[in-house]
Symmetry: C2
Subunit: 365 residues, 2 copies
Amino acid sequence: MVPSKKISLSEEKLKELGDNLARQISKKQNPSVKFPTRSLSNIKYNKQTKKLELGKSITERSFFNLGHSKKFLQTIEIASIIKKQLIETNKHEHLRGIFYIAKRTLPGTNINLVDDQTESDKIIEDLEVITGLSREELHVSANKMGSMVGSISLVDAGDLIDCSRLGRGGYSIPSITDELEFKKVEAKYILYTEKAAIFERLNEDKFWVKNNCILVTSQGQTTRGIRRLLQRLSEEQNLPIYVLCDGDIYGAYIYSVVKYGSIALAHASDRLTIPSVKYIGITMDDIINYDLKKHLIRLDEKDLARIKQISQYDWFKDNKAWQRQFKMMKEFHGKVEIQALATKGISFISETYLPNKIKNKDFLE
Amino acid sequence: MVPSKKISLSEEKLKELGDNLARQISKKQNPSVKFPTRSLSNIKYNKQTKKLELGKSITERSFFNLGHSKKFLQTIEIASIIKKQLIETNKHEHLRGIFYIAKRTLPGTNINLVDDQTESDKIIEDLEVITGLSREELHVSANKMGSMVGSISLVDAGDLIDCSRLGRGGYSIPSITDELEFKKVEAKYILYTEKAAIFERLNEDKFWVKNNCILVTSQGQTTRGIRRLLQRLSEEQNLPIYVLCDGDIYGAYIYSVVKYGSIALAHASDRLTIPSVKYIGITMDDIINYDLKKHLIRLDEKDLARIKQISQYDWFKDNKAWQRQFKMMKEFHGKVEIQALATKGISFISETYLPNKIKNKDFLE
């Protein structure tokens, strides 16, 4: 069900890691691995590619170094667990499961190899950088989240799934979407919304039928699985993607992660970011154009601090359209939820708001 | 797509509410509605039915009463929104959307009919009791959550969906499951787990194929939509349901809500509770039988307080098997997650743990 090519690549890369270490040991060298540093100081926004990327700084992690040796052991142990228990058996395991498997007591001591899941999670991210394989290619998953409906059919684990025939519920997006195979894609664009409630509204209104599109939702933050799914649909199917969020700084941030990437996953930007995505709303201008002032929710100190912080990010600071939005957020001293559009009529969003935005190409970039 | 009978019932009940008020007004009486009180003092555990239920106390809410008049207006306004904008158009709206629609300023004042969603949410629960209709029959939804796979096909909004052909992802459970129509159900039982990670493990291992069952997951708490789905499958298809949770007090509580109901939704017990569900694990005995002591996570003060509180609930306090569990929780001073089973092998849960439990009927009730 999984293309065998991928398994070979993952096995090969992990074997390479092991072979290198074996070679160092047989030469009586201090065994070590080198990889691009993932600390904040080595993460840059690349204006050309419009992606968050790792810089040129390199980390070396070696066994005979008191400060490194535990992390070195964790790295090798988790690489071995992944190779033997996941890749070779063609199984997948969640971050939490990997933590438990790795949490063994070192023989002759009372020291656990890992004590806390944050340790194994970080090592798995390191292994992405060390091997050049994504977490998904390492067969490690995280919680699944989100649904999809629309004019698309795909193959998932051997099953052909027609996402235009899945009722109100839709297709439940798996945590790893790399292995999905797209079949018939008739949709003209994708509308991605952070809110499952809006997805249900649009699905009930058959918005995707009338507008020949695909609807995707998460619930809050966009998972890696959904980001990868959207990126693949954008690149492989050449579909425009419009992002629909609440009119607040968190909505702007959700959009920016989908578009430019995030600091924590800068090393995975190539597989996750989508420079072409556009923000369809809710904008601060919508508050005026659609008379939503009365539905503004007052900002608190935390919101204001986030606006200050996010507006200064490299990928936003020279963007005039977004700077104008941030300024208006502060002037309104308020935020507005997508659901506020329901005051204009339950189906106003699907019959008027979204069609107008798309017809007039009224997007933020 | 929705059976028209249901629409008529909802319309009829809401019309009845309006007609009664109109009659009172034409008789120059103080317009009022009467309904069973939903406060804690009026909620009882019924040992016969094994359900949390409302007692006999009655609330009267009238217009010409300073303490009632705002709530009275909210009740009538929201009933009217539901009748005109949802039932008559056959649309559904989320709790958040209803809040926005109801949040209008009363003419000639600067008073909003509702200022906070908790107000409209409470009125919708009141309307359930007043009309005898469920929130779902009133066409009001909440966030959707959860997935299903297995030997079952169903009709959702006109689409025939075969849940045995939905890949790794599965069927995304809609927020309202009352309107689903079950078709071919070949499964012998349902395994419901609170953890999406475990669902993905079992689905990858094709547990439901090998064991001819249905897998259902939420992520944490069981939504009303999932509870109703499970209840309907239990009653209409006569399927046993096994609940798989973490071995801790929160797992016990999730199980008890599915089985007996919850205090907040005691008025809806008849449509949501499933007295026949059984708890399959993780139990405190599993910690010994499967040698999981080393994976115990130490309890904190909050956990201990919850154990004390939940163990004294009416539906647990005379249950010897569960009292023994609570005692062991305190003795271990620890909790254990389902994922700890991965230390025995990634597929230990699907190949050994669950089949043994089911074969030996090793359940808690």
